[in-house]
Subunit: 240 residues, 2 copies
DNA sequence: CTTCTGGTTACTGTAGACAACATGTATTAT
DNA sequence: ATAATACATGTTGTCTACAGTAACCAGAAG
């Protein structure tokens, strides 16, 4: 579909994906077709095609006569996410270890290198996109057209959730970030040796780490702060 | 997205889905935009939107400057299908038993009634579409936006495969068809009582039955036919 | 002051016409 | 005779202009 990476339409598609993933376009907001078509230098019909495709991929939701809405995140979202993620991640990682080609492993290593660079730089968006790409590549390795759709859908919200909670200034979380990156190296090693069982286990462990991080933000430790002290931290707060 | 079922565009979308599922549009064939737009009485831009959406849903594959192709079925298709199906079916059925609402169960019963009618009538397409709708409704009950994409993708090919192999004239398979329909009734009963474990087990059993039917056609028992006899059957044969 | 109704506005949905690309064929040169 | 190239044809990709619809706001009646 997107063979020619130079076309404006493809650029538009990729940029909109990026904007949704990084929450530059916040969940739930409505998008103006005319405005977007002017931004990307194309007319409305092809832009509408792009929006349809994004709807199919789960980035946006289309409403009749009311336009495209960035896929919202509700209270049910997180719960459903916790149910589906470990199963899909474990399954796709297992299949990746069984089917990965040499060329794919090379690309995965390049991606991991870029991911570590992003962590060092402290750029939340780059880190989140790098992580998304890493797991997306594992999905490609799995080479199963029936599991990929759910994996892609999971990665969209996993990235957005990570983007919400990730804060490079929280030094206490640096060890966890290192651990996550180390696990990525282990993914590569296990996929390269074709150890499917270990890869599946690692996928679950990797997921548990991510889950713990998310839960630590959903249930913050603000209780430990003594009463009467000036509250200087409100980092997890909203955007706009 | 498709709130108004009367619009030509929605009709077009649903009809194309139906045509792909019943193999009226055979896997791999290319579709002519102009021709389709004339058939459904709409112009090419909205038709192209429909094709994009169908691509997102996995019914068709888009090729740059070469149009839309009905999603092909290769040798890898069946293998990947066998890997993913039991996992997704079991998971969604379990969740359906946990989350189903009364209104949804009513609709499922209506669907099951229609399904039995279709079996009696011997209409392969109606039966296949009825089965697809039944499992699609269970997917809705599961109410998990992360698992639904894979389920829908599975159901597309499950329906097409069933459409290929199903032959109402094969009387030997009548008991299996009856069993499948009975299992649907059991699905309803277990979902209604909320027995998630039993529902998941039934999903696997239901899948195994379907799998056995498929395998019996992939590996036909032509060996038992004595040599020298006129070969009168070539039903599973290829397309254009 | 509240509520219903009419108009206004801004957006989405669609159509028709034009441009770009790919394919198949015929012609020419080797 | 064969291969390569140029052309003709048909399809996809895109743009501009128009039609339809829903939300918003103002004004009048209760």
């Amino acid at each position: 579909m997107d063979i020619d990476p130079r076309s404006k339409k493809t650029l538009c598609l990729e940029d909109l994906r990026r904007r949704v993933l990084t929450q530059a376009l916040e969940p739930g907001v409505y998008m103006d077709e005319t405005e977007l078509s002017e931004i990307y230098g194309i007319s409305r019909p092809p832009l509408r095609e792009v929006l349809r495709q994004l709807a199919g991929e789960g980035y946006v939701v289309l409403h009749e006569n009311r336009g495209a809405q960035v896929a919202p995140m509700t209270h049910k979202t997180l719960r459903n996410f916790f149910v589906a993620a470990p199963m899909i991640y474990a399954a796709t990682t297992r299949l990746a270890a069984e089917h990965a080609t040499a060329a794919q492993i090379v690309r995965l290593k390049e991606c991991q290198w870029a991911f570590r660079q992003a962590i060092k730089s402290g750029d939340a968006a780059e880190r989140a996109l790098g992580n998304e790409r890493f797991h997306s590549l594992i999905g490609e390795m799995a080479d199963n057209e029936y599991l990929t759709p759910s994996l892609r859908r999971l990665l969209i919200d996993h990235t957005r959730i990570g983007m919400t909670f990730y804060n490079p200034r929280k030094l206490a979380l640096a060890p966890q970030r290192e651990l996550a990156a180390d696990q990525h190296d282990q993914f590569i090693a296990l996929i390269e040796t074709g150890d499917a069982d270990a890869a599946a286990d690692l996928a679950v462990a990797h997921w548990e780490l991510s889950r713990a991080q998310i839960e630590s933000f959903v249930t913050p430790d603000s209780i430990t702060i003594p009463l009467g002290r000036a509250p200087g931290q409100a980092e997890t707060g909203g955007a706009s």
